[in-house]
Amino acid sequence: MIHVENLRVAFTGRRQVEAVRGVDLTISEGECVALVGESGSGKSVTARSLVGLAGPNARVEADTFTVDGRDARAFAARDWRRLRGRFAGLILQDALVSLDPLRTVGAEIGEVLQTHGIGDRRDRPQRIRQLLTDVHVPEPERRARQYPHQLSGGLRQRALIASAIAGGPRLLIADEPTTALDATVQAQILRLLAERRASGETLLLISHDLAVVSTLADRVLVMKDGRVVEGGDTRTVLVSAGHPYTRKLISAATGRRRGTTTEPGDVVAEATALRKVYGDRTVVKDFGVTIRRGEIVGLVGESGSGKTTVAQLLFGLAEPTSGHVRFEGADFSGVPERARRPIRRRLQLIAQDPLSAFDPRWTVRRIVGEALPRGADPEPCLERVGLGADVLDRYPRQLSGGQRQRVAVARAIAPRPSLIICDEPVSALDVSVQAQVLDLLADIREADGTALLFISHDLGVIRDIADRVLVMHDGRVVEQGPVKAVFDHAGHEYTRALLDAVPTLEVSR
């Protein structure tokens, strides 16, 4: 169906960027091919180039570029338009922004039918209903009249898929189709994609997540810096990866347990019967936790489970409606900020997005320096997180994502805190960088005996680093216990559903 040799895509303009630098790609009828890579690898640009949507500033070149049996290098805008929606459908990451928020779901799906003149005007509502039913959207008539923001994340993504398949395309290009979704919903969408494939559609899957891809794809192409570094049959690639980068991705995706031998010490922080009400919504119900020195406690939950509110309550950014927080033996909730100040430095925070966590006008020297006693040298701190003196005088935006999060860790450990609250600290990072930051955090616990409260939506990450885990659902802790016990013998059905939903990379030989 698609055959490309030596695809090169460069973006012109004030800044020239070569996004894709020689990619060979063949997609045959009925197969599922995956492009895997981290941010900036050129995987999305490659996929979009296949339907002529690389962008207005893109210069696309190739030695061979055959789409549906025709030479795409000679395509005019019209030729591309005829292919789009008809020959190939495109599914993007988050339907909240990938569907026009100002138009109803039905109008978005109907647009495909109208553009390609499929069916006549009168039976369009019927077709739209059928399409929504095909992707298992309940109450299709009502949903078709609703706007994307009125649908849940999963339904929205289904509606987006319905609009992509409305023109009856033979090829579906799915660009990170599940990345914005919670694990349980992700599993449902992956099942739906598998279903589409079984019904004969060809699939091109783009993802940063090898585990997601491995459940669906026949062949995998691993991309890095605009080139394919490894490619082949999914099984073969996973079992006997040749390229070190692929192996790095695999080991990051399979995960590695970072245990400890030290026993937990004295109680550092304690929360009892925490309850937080915003307006008429109770966001956190009866939350309790005890964190001891040298312990890593995982807090896992999907979006809206209340885990971020818990972080705010523990950190003293919000006051609980009822219940208490104690930190290092002193009251930490229900007291004025003035009373918290003396022990403030003993409690630190690492957030998901390191860039916004730094004052954009400050250099790394000043950022880390703020956490240290006046006049102290920030260099040793940076050394501990594996950064050299060369970053000292740079601004946060001049650092890579991984470097930024290391600086955030350096700043958090600088005042020698007894507890660090980590709120999704690795979620924004590429998988290979994730592993490094997790190693770093585990080392710090080992060396300093710092306790960590590790909040994440990602069960894999929790399994790799936490000693104990609390599972939150709808503001309530539904299950807790040692990581191994919870993961191996989940007691609560929600935990089991969560665990089942996580795509795992099976590298059995």
Partner: protein, 304 residues
């Protein structure tokens, strides 16, 4: 929805009250005796002084003066011009139609031109030329535009009358003069909005359905681009009301602007105060309309 409208109306009433109060305070703050301020350059006779003191309750406590002023304003009684010896409502009322005609014509011309410019000049040289023209227009004093148009179309070619308000031909040049800067600003805002919307993922999805670029623009991006443009409705009212003062002067048209300018020149405070309150009322009406327009355009805001 009804609650949202009720809240708008209530806050509009607050703005009106604030404007009326501010105008009243301005009168009190003016240097010299309040009676002198109200007379302005009018005839200063003991009878008129007595009339002013009676009508403004100046012989009674300040609170009563203020409350009575508010009460009269709320009933639509805007007081009396002692210079012209006519009720202010009458003085202003005559001038509203020509000004309204000009403002509406200018707004329609400006908005239509902005839409056409933003949608049609998307690429390369057309876009650059249009952006440059908008910048020049926006940076040029409106009266200069008016003068240039007058000298070309009226003096040189005699196509339109030089001044006055007789017939539709007399409306063309003033409306264009006032509409051009509006188009200049709005076109920039719209073009920015279109650029942003066309970069959004939903625009990529729409293209991936096989839509023409023009269809993506009109059916998807334009509505998104309208949002920031609606925000500028309040600003637009200000430009129109303020613009009439200058444009009416340049083109010798009757209207609110001329009345205001004369009132300021003659120190006819009752008229000035009334114009301020009237402008505030226009602002409230337009802003309420803008808020409702948001709800029409963006379904995400309809949740209450």
């Amino acid at each position: 929805m009804i609650r949202a409208i009720a809240r708008r109306v209530a806050s509009g009433a607050v703005v009106l009250w604030a404007a009326a109060t501010a105008a009243y305070l301005a009168l009190l703050a003016a240097p010299g005796d309040i009676v002198d301020s109200l007379i302005g350059d009018g005839a200063d006779t003991p009878q008129i002084r007595a009339q002013i003191i009676a009508e403004w309750n100046l012989d009674r406590p300040a609170v009563v003066q203020y409350l009575d002023y508010l009460w009269r304003a709320a009933q639509g009684d805007l007081g009396r011009s002692y210079l012209l010896q006519r009720p202010v409502g009458e003085v202003i009322g005559d001038q509203v139609p020509p000004t309204l005609k000009l403002a509406v014509a200018a707004a329609v011309f400006g908005v239509a031109l902005a839409l056409v410019l933003a949608v049609t000049t998307r690429h390369r040289w057309a876009r650059r030329a249009s952006s440059a023209a908008e910048l020049v227009i926006v940076s040029t004093p409106p009266f200069l535009i008016g003068i240039v148009l007058l000298s070309v179309f009226s003096f040189r070619f005699g196509l339109f009358p030089v001044s006055g308000d007789r017939g539709w031909a007399a409306l063309v040049l003033p409306a264009v003069t006032m509409g051009l800067p509006i188009a200049g600003v709005l076109a920039q805002v719209l073009r920015d909005g279109l650029d942003r919307a066309l970069d959004e993922p939903f625009a990529i999805t729409a293209r991936a359905r096989g839509l023409r670029e023009r269809a993506v623009l009109i059916r998807h991006a334009l509505r998104h681009a309208l949002m920031p443009a609606v925000t500028m409705l309040g600003w637009l009212t200000g430009v129109l009301l303020g613009g009439t003062v200058i444009i009416e002067q340049v083109f010798g048209r009757p209207g609110l602007g001329q009345v205001t300018l004369q009132a300021v020149g003659n120190g006819d405070m009752p008229v000035v105060l009334a114009v301020v309150v009237l402008a505030a009322a226009a602002f409230v009406v337009i802003n309420t309309a803008a808020d409702l327009a948001y709800l029409v355009i963006d379904p995400r805001l309809r949740r209450s």
